[in-house]
Amino acid sequence: MADVTVAPREGYGNATLPSLKEQLKLVAWLRWRSLRNGLRSNNRRMDLLGMLVSGLFSSVLVIGITIALFVGTKYIFEEHHEKYLGLIFLGLLVWWQLFPIMLAGFAPQFSFKTLLRFPLNFSTFYLVGLAYGLADAAALAALIWMGAMIAGTLASEPAAVPAMLLVCALFAVLNVTIERLMGAWLEKLLAKRRSREAIFGIFILCMVSLQFLNPILQRHGNEAKQVIQTALPYLWLLPSSFAGDFVARSSEGQWSGALLHLGGLLAYVLVFSVLLCRRYAKLYAGEELSEGASPEPRTKRTGIVEVDDSDTLGFLPPRVGAVFRKEARYLKRNSFLFFSLVIPPLMVFFFSMQLAGARSGPFKRGIPPDMFFPGMMAYLVLILLAPSYNSFAHESRGIQTYFMSPVRFREVLLGKNLMTVVIVFAELLVCITLVGTRVGFPSAPILAATLTAMVFSVMGQLTIANWASISFPKKMEFGKMQGQRNSGMSVFLMFGVQIVLGGISALILFSGRWTGSAWLPAQVFAVLAAAAFGGYFASLDALTELAEKKKEVLIEALCR
């Protein structure tokens, strides 16, 4: 066979690497276009509206802290309390490292690692990683707050501004480096689906456990105080202390001490930068983290297995039963949701420690069972009904099955809602027992009123939640935190409906006291519950029609 040689032509292999500035510009452009294009459809625009509303609330928090930090820094310099600057930096450090984890759900779904397919050099890859961290909402808020601290310094001690500027810049680099490093380590740790889900479950439990810190401190405050006092001297080793002390000492003209602290801060920056560099180098070299590389072993086949063909859900229509069973399996496999079921009883336990009974706490005499019980049940409904406002979130491509099979959508909704009702009922039993044993049962009229109010609220909410799920669907993926949030409109609707229903229920509950008729609320709620029941079943056909009309929106949103 004759050798064939093809001479390289002008189009082959002569692409030149763009400059660092050009590459960063391209990445920024990519992120902007992704965000803009993601808002093209109507549903996405409604999402944006919802996000703007929730963004407004967040802005109030950010602006409030900005003003506080400006005033606080100004006061610190005016009153010569510079030693407290370290505490402000400590607050920023804690915020910067912890808040991104809580905000992970709101981040756009874009993995900068995908950029590796392009001819990026390592330094660009590293810088893009840092820039990606700076684009985080928590980081932006922290940068604004550091700006407020610089402004506060300028207003009171202009001579300290250069030191403050230097420290803020170093502190920002350090924080973003630590945050990216933690993110990269977590990404490695969470690459396996099962470990990911288990860790998210533990994370949720830890977050809930934090709520118990205050009651525990109230009981064991003195012992805790001693432990904290022993640990306090070591706080100077933290980067926040180095940052604060450098500014404090440089403003007092103690240059040797100031430089020592600056060195400490620089050492932190260096160590974490080296660690991040090593991690990114592995990613850059093409480290494979997905579990596709290590598939599960095949299960050994055993002989004939006796199977039980009896159907425990035989009392349900087959299709409703099938959807119910599928929902149960999905719940079992969604560690995040599964663990979240533990939260309501834990929180009820926590509230009972804090608010009810005659123990210590803000309410010295404790909230009486007649008030505590309805409050806890309202909380239960609030938490447990929330996922129903985006009940197709985890269906993904499976949503097509509902539209391909000979099933009316009312059966799908019934199956899903039945699962919600079973969960609410089970949690209700646990929480009633908990409240009963810890705080005591409410009077019979309040118990009856609360339970009928729950029926009214659950059925009313399910009707609206079904509509929201069909109209504003948003795909969510199991075991992922990034981008896992309901559509903005769903969140907006959920809060709106819960506030309105909660308000109505509270008014009716209090009407018993105002009128002196203890059973009146229970009677009113019974009528409302019956109406909500009727409304729910009447809505199913209309929602089936709506699902048929909106099926393209549903499929498009969930199959993407």
């Binding site: 082959y12 579990e291 199977v307 039963g321 969604n334 391909m404 000979p406």
Partner: protein, 261 residues
């Protein structure tokens, strides 16, 4: 008069200004193995989605087994099986759980569903992965499972969108044999694929869509005869396809990429 399994009447679908499918009139007889071809973006998937109830036509009518889809959606869906573009799997179930779910959704009782599920998993060589979540399956394994789910209720019409994509040669051979036997028993199979060799080997009849319009329909022999200058030549389906859609402005001209050729 032949028994018509699939018929469309001026089927049209618009997305804003774009007309993806434009007045398509299809006629597929019962028991036919029917191939539906077209270049990328021609309107194949949009048509198959309208035929299976995943997309509402802007105008026009779909009739399956003599029943109007819009009038009797549930009854029609009972008779059809679909492997859609994205496969439509619930990835958080295992294969037996998914087949049980689908079987029940199609109204099969539990023992029948279980029996068929076991047999299908065995046939698809997925039985030894029965405890693995679908999310952890390879693309080919997911495809085989989607096929199993599409036939578990014994459909009279089967819609398959790229059914052999990612499936290994061994399983693909068995599947082709299964599909062939199904058509012998009167099942109508409507298949789209970009692999023209597969379509040529399996399908007796073919329709070709281009820019949303049906440009050819009939048996492969009829289409072959319709190609200008076909006399005395043995034309493959690829030749027919290229002559119908590939000639003229539609066909990419390699010579235009001067920097590569």
């Amino acid at each position: 008069m032949p028994d018509i399994a699939i018929a469309t009447d001026k089927l049209t679908r618009k997305f804003g200004e774009l007309t993806a499918v434009d007045g398509v009139d299809l006629q597929v007889e019962s028991g036919q193995f029917f191939g539906f071809l077209g270049p990328n973006g021609a309107g194949k998937s949009t048509t198959i989605k309208m035929l299976t109830g995943l997309l509402v036509p802007t105008t026009g009518r779909v009739s399956l087994l003599g029943m109007d889809f819009a009038q009797h959606p549930v009854e029609v869906k009972r008779q059809i099986g679909v492997v859609p573009e994205g496969m439509g799997l619930f990835e958080r179930l295992t294969a037996p759980e998914y087949l049980e779910f689908v079987g029940r959704m199609y109204g099969l009782d539990k023992p029948t569903t279980r029996k068929r599920s076991d047999e299908l998993l065995e046939f698809m060589q997925l039985a030894d992965r029965s405890k693995t979540l679908i999310a952890d399956y390879s693309h080919g394994m997911q495809k085989k499972l989607a096929l199993a789910a599409a036939v578990i209720h014994g459909p009279r019409i089967l819609f398959l969108d790229e059914p052999f994509e990612g499936v290994d040669a061994l399983a693909a051979g068995a599947l082709k044999e299964l599909l062939g036997r199904m058509t012998e028993r009167g099942v109508t199979i409507f298949l789209t694929s970009h692999v023209l060799e597969i379509v040529e080997r399996l399908c007796s009849h073919v329709a070709i869509i281009r820019r949303g319009r049906l440009v050819a329909q009939g048996s492969i022999d009829q289409l072959r005869a319709g190609v200008p200058g076909a006399e005395g030549r043995t034309l493959t389906l690829e030749d027919i396809f290229l002559s119908v859609v590939g000639e003229g402005a539609d066909r990419p001209q390699v010579e235009e990429l001067t920097w590569l050729t």
